[in-house]
């Protein structure tokens, strides 16, 4: 159940961790043992009431365990000073809990100030973190939480949790109360951020899709925080341990697997592109010699600028390419999942998702053929695995009969 690769050093180790709330017979968390490897996102997922939140809150001792041990980076913190312990652990909750009477800068500066950083270092850190979560420090530093949108508040919540550069972060349904579109964007941004900062993260959710998307490893829990399966998302989708896991994943496991492959893992399709200064006639010539129904106009840095269709070009009337057609849409980055790309391309005018790198430079496109190809590959892999089981079984049968 608690297998970890030999190379992975557990950053957090829970040993026989148990919590029985006063007045309750059954423990909410019953002798849970779990290793959380350094630098990974481990998702605790399970039906409501399974004890996942209690488990997480015992790590920073918001809830005190009844028995068992918590080891943080090899050090037993079960009885350490809770306030000191919590300053080493970033904490993000669903309701965010920004301090409404403090500015964004003051919110983020809370822990660094507690740790006694000097004012200059604190100010620099605040600006750095705001930039990291893609908010302009000059604009947002002095604002109050009520002046931000829900998505912006959650970014500040994440920035605040990262403020003292903790090794470990605990996140309790951090994107649960945000509208689906913003949630998707925040999830992607968070993955991009995690790729840079490599924190050890314990992430609680009840949403298996979020778990598959966000997790390096998923612990599927049931009542009493019993670990039913603790594995990578791939293995959980392809080899669910039992019916409980199968039920919990629900239908559409193969569609969910589109969440596991990322755009950077597949070969991109090419699309006719022209530089910004090209004349409409020239663009038309390019378009005639290529299969698509539109050309993508790129600016001097190679970033998508406009989509210009054949009809737009014919009615250009001497206007420049950047004045006709439409804004680039359906743009995804290489770390986006195929599921994201599929979502984008379905609604896109020219049925492709445009892929750009971190600097916004055009890389290629994803079309429906690429996605089907990816699904076909997954399925043939599956079949091969299934066949292998079959072959071994018949081998065994054969040897018995012979």
């Amino acid at each position: 159940m608690t297998e970890t690769g030999p190379a992975d050093r557990p950053m957090i180790r829970l040993e026989e961790l148990t919590k029985t709330f006063p007045g309750q017979q059954r423990p909410a968390v019953d002798a849970l043992t779990l290793d959380i490897p350094e630098g990974e996102i481990v998702i605790l997922v399970g039906p409501s009431g399974c004890g996942k939140t209690t488990t997480m809150k015992m790590i920073n001792r918001i809830i005190e365990p009844t028995s068992g041990r918590i080891l943080l980076d090899g050090e037993d913190v079960t009885h350490a000073d809770p306030d000191q312990l919590r300053r080493r652990i970033g904490y993000v909750i669903q309701q965010i809990g920004l301090f409404p009477h403090m500015t964004i800068a003051e919110n983020i500066a809370t822990v660094p100030k507690l740790l006694g950083w000097d004012a200059q270092r604190v100010a620099a850190r605040v600006d750095e973190l705001l930039t990291t979560v893609r908010m302009d420090p000059a604009e947002y530093r002095g604002r109050y939480p009520k002046e931000l949108s829900g998505g912006q508040r959650q970014r500040v919540g994440v920035a605040r949790a990262l403020s003292a550069d903790p090794d470990v972060m605990l996140m309790d349904e951090p994107f649960g109360a945000i509208d689906p579109i913003t949630r998707d964007r925040l999830q992607n941004e968070f993955l991009r951020l995690q790729a840079q900062v490599r924190k050890t993260i314990v992430f609680v959710t009840h949403d298996i899709d979020e778990a598959i998307k966000m997790g390096d490893r998923i612990a599927i829990l049931r009542e009493g925080s019993e670990v039913v399966q603790y594995d990578t998302p791939e293995t959980i989708l392809t080899h669910p341990a039992n019916d409980f896991v199968r039920d919990f994943i629900g239908s559409g496991a193969s569609l969910k697997r589109l969440n596991l492959s990322r755009v950077r893992d597949i070969e991109l399709s090419h699309w006719p592109t022209v530089p910004e200064g090209t004349s409409p006639e020239e663009a038309l010539r390019v378009l005639r010699s290529a299969p698509g129904s539109a050309v993508l106009v790129l600016d001097a840095q190679g970033r998508p600028r406009r989509w210009v269709g054949a009809t737009d070009l014919q009615r250009a009337d001497g206007r420049r390419l950047d004045q006709i057609g439409m804004h680039p849409e359906a743009i995804v980055e290489p770390h986006a999942t195929l599921s994201d790309a599929l979502n984008e391309l379905i609604t896109a005018r020219y049925s492709v998702a445009t892929v750009v790198d971190g600097n916004g430079v055009y890389q290629g496109v994803v079309d429906i053929d690429r996605i089907t190809e990816a699904i076909r590959t997954m399925r043939s892999d599956d079949q091969r695995t299934a066949r292998r089981g079959l072959d071994e079984a018949s081998d065994a049968a054969g040897s018995r009969w012979s």
Partner: protein, 263 residues
Amino acid sequence: MTASTDWATVRPPGTDPARGGRWWPWIGRLALPVVLALVLLALWLYVGSQELDSIEARSLTAETIGETAARHVALTAVSTVLVVALAVPLGILLTRPFTRRYRGLLLTVANIGQAVPTIGLLALLAVAFFFLGFWAAVVGLVAYAVLPVLRNTMVGLEGVDPAVLEAGKGMGLSGRQVLRRLELPLAVPVILAGIRTALVINVGTATLAAYINGGGLGTLIVAGFSTNRFLVSLTGAVLTAVLALLVDHLAGIAEDVLKPKGL
């Protein structure tokens, strides 16, 4: 106050409040003092137009009126300061988890303080304990005004968003830091509203101090009644009313100014 709150919420994020926006509330805030000044002027003109006999003339000198008014303000101020010093810490204590058991009991005691009429309490202090004068009046006022401040302190502290407290605790703020940096500032608007109520109650009730030789504007009212001089009672009553309205108004401004930004 409502007006200023709306201003704060309505203005689009990021824009500094317009110059007009910053000054507009102050124009509203000046209206009431102007009206009160006009009332006092009318009173002065009316009293000045009357023939005063010797009793009236003695009661209505600028010196007597000034003294009684100052005494009244002193009674109100001292009792309110004591109420705040007593009720706010008590309210904090009663919202800590370890005092949950005593919460009901102490609230009942505070309720009794407000249920018993102040005049009865003052009479009791005077008759049973021979306790008279300024400080006896203060005791009566404090007993009466503790409840609103205590109750508002508790309501204010309990009304703080639990998510904010959990976030604070989860970040490693100690219990005391959570109280000082999060709970109290966030409860300030509600606590101030309680203090404002206590102030207004005290201004009105302080007139009763006259019965136990505690001084204040009540002296004019009581003296006017006992000597059958309507003009003296009227002066005392109008001055008390003007003072109550002014105190309420100033307290309202204090609420606005002291309210933490961002709420």
